[in-house]
């Protein structure tokens, strides 16, 4: 954590390495995370397309498969173990390297310091280290594809004993699973570093006048998310270390006695598979809030800006964020209703799970309330924010079924669950990232994005994701079991294959539509019109500096804040927006 001499001496960094590779500038680091997420999401999406293809055409010979996986797909036909490993890596890469990076470490790094009026994060060197540690974690994870046996096949949840027994439990469960655990452990370290920075920065580096109740909701979500990550990843790290020891040091934390695997008697004794599930989900549930909270913050921000209205119920929104964060730690057992855990604990977890629906509902109503009576400007960022609200309603509603253990008795381990979490994480959270990109691209890269391409991409994606994930709920109701490479052996699945086909076509269509987004990015970066300081007429501090901002954000000036973050259309004010740093409005002329 040594001094960033460049910063305190108020000199911009020079040289390519210092400026773009090992940069200490939070804005560069934020963009690095954003690119890491972009790279990862395309890998994750490619894996999901392979999965969707195989489920519907399990016996089709594809030359490409054999080229990529000579053992896993010899003869061009994907084996079940290959399918399961693709599924495992899809989930892992998406959850960790997309949803836990861009929303928090990507946009948060880029904009938390500026939005609170600081020059940089509290610990710039630590910030730089947290990115590169994440990068190393990604490399280790991807390496699992290339080792003997390939990537692990135990799902992103890696339940032991399957994940703890080693290569004897299946292909990919040897070196592949070990690399997976090591990568996750490294990722835990990177997240902890990031969390320290986010919390210290928000607590201590706010500009004069930037009280907690004047923080943009994005900053609130980044703060609470950092706390969730801090406490959650610490637990995951502990669990990962114990799993690694079970795999390679002969311990028995998670593996009980008397197991016979592949005709061999295992030497383990006395461990508990449920212990892993408790530790994992104690992290795992806060993790999903880590994935969604920043998207909620961006949505609140964007809705307010483009409806030209303050966010409806700012205080309630803050309390909702805090309750979601807190309650997120006490509901993990709802992932374990069928696990053999005490059914009384299940009831307790269930009631708590239902209560967490309340702050989520509050936020949804408040978003609609923000739009009500507004003057909506339909920029692409706004479209994605509106799409977020719709998708969050859909995804949240299905959670009400799953939170009841009585109903989970059937729906557990069916695509009803998969549809639920994809709506929330795989779509709503992604829409939050799209909204953030379209909203902040001008500030990050100094150019405006193409609105026409943006809107086309939005509509195709919005309809596409509903087409992909709504049918999953029906498959779940019909009893489709989860994590199956193919359904040839289950008779009642024959009548459901047409639904699977529809989903596969929708998936390919939606994936193809993402090319429009890529084209937009490239076009905008190279040919987009230069962005003014405040193209959206927004109030928060990042719009009071040039696009992109100077290296120390405010050019040596210390901003002073006089207003809350959502003062749009204030009656009596000179313009329809009051920037946070504008001088105080003259009393008597303004009705607040």
């Amino acid at each position: 954590m040594s001094s960033a001499a460049a910063h305190t001496a108020h000199q911009a960094p020079t040289g390519f390495i210092r400026k773009y590779i090992f940069s200490l500038d939070h804005k560069v680091i934020g963009i690095q995370y954003w690119f890491l997420a972009l790279f990862s999401v395309f890998i994750g999406m490619f894996l999901s397309l392979l999965m969707r293809f195989h489920v519907v055409f399990p016996d089709m010979k594809v030359g490409l498969f054999e080229t990529l996986w000579p053992t896993g797909a010899s003869g061009g036909v994907m084996t079940p173990e290959l399918y399961l490993s693709l599924m495992t890596m899809h989930g892992t890469i998406m959850v960790f390297f997309v949803l836990t990076t861009a929303p928090q470490s990507g946009f948060g790094n880029s904009f938390l310091p500026i939005q609170i009026g600081a020059e940089d994060m509290a610990f710039p060197v630590l910030n730089m280290l947290s990115f590169w540690t994440t990068f190393i974690a990604l490399i280790v994870m991807l390496a699992a594809f290339f080792v003997e046996g390939g990537a692990p096949l135990g799902g992103w949840t890696a339940y032991p004993p399957l994940s703890g027994l080693g290569a004897i439990a299946g292909p990919g469960q040897g070196m592949g699973q070990t690399l997976w655990v090591v990568s996750i452990a490294i990722f835990c370290g990177a997240s902890l570093m990031g969390a320290i920075n986010f919390i210290a920065t928000t607590m201590d580096l706010r500009a004069k006048g930037m009280t907690f109740m004047r923080l943009p909701l994005t900053c609130w979500t980044w703060l609470v998310t950092a706390i969730l990550g801090l406490l959650g990843f610490a637990v995951l790290l502990a669990a990962g270390i114990l799993l690694l020891l079970d795999r390679s040091a002969g311990t028995s934390f998670f593996i009980p006695a008397g197991l016979v695997v592949n005709d061999q008697v295992m030497n383990h004794k006395g461990g508990s598979p449920l212990l892993w599930q408790h530790l994992f989900w104690f992290f795992g549930h806060p993790e999903v809030y880590i994935a969604i909270l920043p998207g909620m913050g961006v949505t609140s921000q964007v809705l307010s800006v483009f409806a030209r209205k303050p966010i409806f119920g700012y205080r309630a929104m803050v309390y909702a964020i805090m309750s979601i964060g807190f309650l997120g730690f006490v509901v993990w057992g709802h992932h374990m209703f069928m696990s053999g855990m005490s059914p009384y604990s299940s009831m307790a977890f269930s009631v708590l799970t239902m209560t967490i629906g309340v702050p989520s509902a509050i936020k949804t109503f408040n978003w609609i309330g923000t739009l009500w009576g507004g003057q909506i400007r339909f920029t692409t960022a706004m479209m994605f924010a509106l799409g977020f609200v719709s998708l969050f309603i859909s995804g949240g509603i299905s959670g009400i079924f799953l939170g009841q253990p009585a109903l989970d008795l059937y729906l557990h381990d069916t695509p009803f669950v998969v549809g639920h979490f994809h709506m929330i994480m795989g779509v709503a959270a992604i829409f939050g990232m799209f909204a953030g990109t379209f909203y902040w691209f001008p500030k990050m890269f100094g150019r405006m994005m193409h609105e026409g391409l943006g809107k086309l991409h939005f509509y195709l994606t919005f309809i596409g994701v509903y087409a992909i994930f709504t049918p999953m709920h029906f498959l779940g109701i019909a009893g489709n079991p989860r994590r199956y490479a193919d359904f040839k052996d289950v008779e009642y699945m024959a009548g459901l294959m047409s639904v699977h086909e529809f989903m596969t076509y929708a998936a390919f269509f939606t994936a193809a539509s993402q090319l429009i987004f890529v084209i937009n990015l490239i076009w905008s970066w190279t040919k987009g019109p230069k962005a003014p300081a405040n193209p959206w007429e927004a109030t928060t501090l990042e719009w009071s500096v040039p696009s992109p901002p100077p290296f120390d954000n405010f050019g040596g000036v210390h901003p002073v804040v006089h207003h809350g973050p959502y003062e749009y259309s204030v009656p009596g004010a000179p313009k329809d927006y009051v920037m946070q740093t504008d001088p105080p409005l003259v009393p008597g002329t303004v009705k607040h």
């Binding site: 305190t8 969390a195 201590d204 004794k269 006395g270």
Partner: protein, 213 residues
């Protein structure tokens, strides 16, 4: 809502003007003070994470112990008592060093801080000896769940302590190069706090082993 409580406890001396230092990036008037505050916040946050990490291991410990009948109590190796005393001594010495520096006694500070670093390293050696003693009795990592936890918890604590020793050495090197401006005070205070925390954590682990191990 600054963590001024911690700065009060630690009365880290006057706020000097400007200068490079720990943490950097302080903005607004009183940049140095903000950076110092941020360093303490950062430390508190780190300690929260470390606490959570050991809480997870503790709950695994408790669950595993209650689960099966193959739990065989691990006898604490005798060297543990010696190394515990050494660790406690190192905390006391480091605290004395810190106060010496505040009173302006640089020479004293140097001596005491190095002594504390040495004692800290001695503790680590003692932990290693404890492992050697256990292995001599044929008790290894996978021998039984109690021994597994003993090794895992002591190793986890030791890893954090190695970080602490590196921090102590960093300060030592800076002190020897006479680079102990007021900006480094925060570094010293943070290192010392981290060290005392690990001390307390060790006592907790000791009690856990004695009572439940």
């Amino acid at each position: 809502m600054a963590t001024s409580a911690t700065t009060d406890i630690w009365k880290g001396g006057d706020q000097p003007p400007g200068g490079g230092g720990f943490g950097g990036g302080g903005s607004g008037p009183g940049g140095r003070g903000v950076s110092r505050r941020a360093s303490f916040t950062g430390l508190m946050v780190l300690l929260a994470a470390v606490l959570m990490f050991f809480a997870a291991l503790t709950s695994a410990f408790v669950v595993r112990r209650g689960l099966s009948n193959d739990w065989v109590s691990t006898q604490l190796p005798s060297v543990i008592w010696f190394s515990t005393a050494v660790l406690l001594a190192s905390s006391v010495v480091l605290e004395l060093a810190r106060r010496a520096l505040k009173a302006g006694q640089r020479e004293n500070f140097h001596r005491l801080w190095i002594a504390g670093s040495v004692l800290g390293s001695l503790f680590l050696i003692g932990q290693y000896m404890a492992w050697v003693q256990l292995k001599a009795q044929g008790i290894y990592l996978a021998t039984n769940p109690s021994s597994s936890f003993f090794y895992v918890l002591t190793a986890a604590h030791a890893v954090h302590l190695i970080g602490g020793v590196l921090a102590l050495l960093y300060v030592t090197v800076q002190a020897l190069r006479l680079r102990l401006g007021p900006g480094k005070r925060t570094a010293i205070d943070v290192c010392a706090m981290y060290w005392h925390f690990l001390d307390g954590l060790w006592i907790y682990l000791l009690v856990l082993f004695l009572v439940w191990g």
